[in-house]
Assembly symmetry: C2
Homo-oligomer: 330 residues x 2
């Protein structure tokens, strides 16, 4: 890749992080990633995960580092390291205690999805038949996230809770890893009005490569055209990528993601196995060809730069600054 290629930020990966996975990302030109470090875990388990991740980052400080600010991403590019933003795919690490938002922010967490796949204290999930909308506690959590400077992520969140959260949030919000519903019908993909509401408030949508929410016969060009069409629909400043790459996890982890501790595995069904990723996106090493594909569907260099990283970085800069009013120190 050219040395002046745009900064590249992956809106979400859920990987079993290791030196090999850091290096794979670097080979794919990734400068920073929102790295999931909680899905079902509560506060204590999440502290342990973060503590071990600090250790992993320290031992591999030549290839990766904790990222806390937008400037850290620029520094990572300069140093040839992967910037790791800590992110949650659930608000479970906050338990029922809103002060945990500031605690985890101080530990480096910069993104939190309001719900994973089931309703929680904060709101409804995309797979719930009934969605409460954002709860009273959910409004408090969103307000705290706005205050400390943490990105509200709506990817797995239910329709009504998404709409409520866009309205409730004083800062723009993200959908880090979902596609438009018109591209592929899945509860994980988002209808037009949610996409437009997110964009209308300055938010960003990360188009997602996870096979189960991409049309299975989609080619690289189909995917890239979807990205371009979404940019036409909601604006080029509001579209990005969130690969949802899963590296280093076996099928056991998929079963954990599906069932958490809220239901037993279905004894009548075969154990779940990870879906097959498209030939044109097997791992973060395939990002350069994806970037090339974006150019081939007619997006110019500026547009591609926004999609690859510029839009995430603009959103992060705005959200991370938090609400200084009423804050003592960040």
């Amino acid at each position: 890749m050219k040395p002046d290629r745009p900064l590249f930020v992956d809106g979400l990966q859920i990987s079993n992080w290791s030196r090999a996975v850091f290096e794979e990302n670097l080979r794919g030109g990734v400068d920073a990633v929102n790295a999931t470090c909680a899905v079902w875990e509560g506060p204590l388990e999440t502290m342990g995960i973060i503590g071990r991740l600090y250790e992993l980052l320290r031992v591999n400080a030549d290839v990766a580092t904790l990222a806390l600010t937008v400037d850290d991403v620029t520094a990572c590019r300069r140093d040839g390291r992967l910037g790791v933003f800590l992110g949650f795919q659930n608000t479970s690490p906050f338990g029922d205690d809103y002060t945990m938002v500031e605690v985890f922010h101080r530990l480096g967490v910069r993104v939190a999805q309001l719900t994973y796949n089931i309703q929680n204290l904060v709101g409804g999930a995309c797979y719930d038949p009934v969605d409460s909308g954002l709860t009273r506690f959910g409004r408090r959590i969103v307000a705290e996230m706005n205050r400390v400077g943490m990105v509200v992520d709506l990817s797995h969140v239910g329709y009504r809770t998404c709409r409520d959260a866009v309205d409730a949030s004083a800062a723009p919000v993200a959908i880090t890893h979902s596609n438009p519903l018109w591209f592929f019908p899945s509860p994980r993909n988002k209808p037009d009005d949610v996409m437009k509401a997110v964009a209308g408030r300055g938010g960003v949508v990360g188009c997602c490569l996870y096979p189960n929410i991409v049309e299975s016969f989609a080619t690289r060009d189909d995917f890239c055209r979807m990205v371009a069409d979404l940019a036409d629909q909601i604006g080029i400043d509001h579209v990005a990528l969130g690969s949802d790459s899963v590296r280093g996890w076996g099928d056991d982890y998929l079963a954990y993601l599906r069932n958490g501790r809220w239901q037993p595995p279905d004894p009548s069904a075969p154990a779940p196995t990870w879906p097959r990723w498209p030939d044109w996106y097997q791992s973060p090493e395939d990002f350069p060809s994806l970037a090339e594909g974006l150019g081939r569907v007619g997006l110019d260099g500026d547009a591609v730069a926004k999609i690859l990283g510029g839009n995430w970085l603009r959103l992060f800069a705005e959200v991370f600054s938090g609400d200084k009013a009423g804050t003592d120190r960040s």
Copy 2:
């Protein structure tokens, strides 16, 4: 007090923090304090305590703020605010996980006592009849504290574990709140060899006002003479104050400190009540007269400045810088 009075740091207070307690400290001329936020609590409970303390500090940001560095103390003096260093009187918040040292350091914790009143994973306490010395896990914890820049506190720690910790620590250590054993016989006070070992490695001893470890008929001058004599014994650069002030807690909290969850209250004994503090030190508001007393036993202005804050700040500056070798970011 004169505007050019020396910076004053209290080596330890264990208070039920509130606006009133912050203001009382300010009236007493305190610029910063090592504020105990864990005694028996594990990782999760401690997170909750810290989260609520962040909230309290934010709401009272005009009178107090989280202190993380020595520069923060200077800023607090300038702004007329109390700097609150978070401290532990136990390593219980680390559980059995050494990575929790970095987690809590990132949350702002700057001091941790290795044991409270009973043996733990790290070593023996001052009340234990047999002291294992610093354990293998204890050596790991001390090394992590050295690395991230957290002060090792030996106040309630057992004799052998104290000696081991001084030797094991790459950074100077503290006894934040104990007196010389020659002043008053208590397992909480320290024999000459421990005092000298701490001082010999550049550490600091905070002379303590807690009634149970001060001769009960001691006058203010007796206490101040003890401070001066200790300075003669181990060097003026190694003596400071750690009041152990207890503000805002009722007798229930004393019972909790005594029994934790490791033993039931003694049914044959009356419920414990807080000891009576000396007339000459009832609260942090009495610090100015204590400072005056230090002058009256013959300590000059430079010596008093070291005892009131200079020695703590020198130790903090040295320890907080951590061991940059092998660290990615502090």
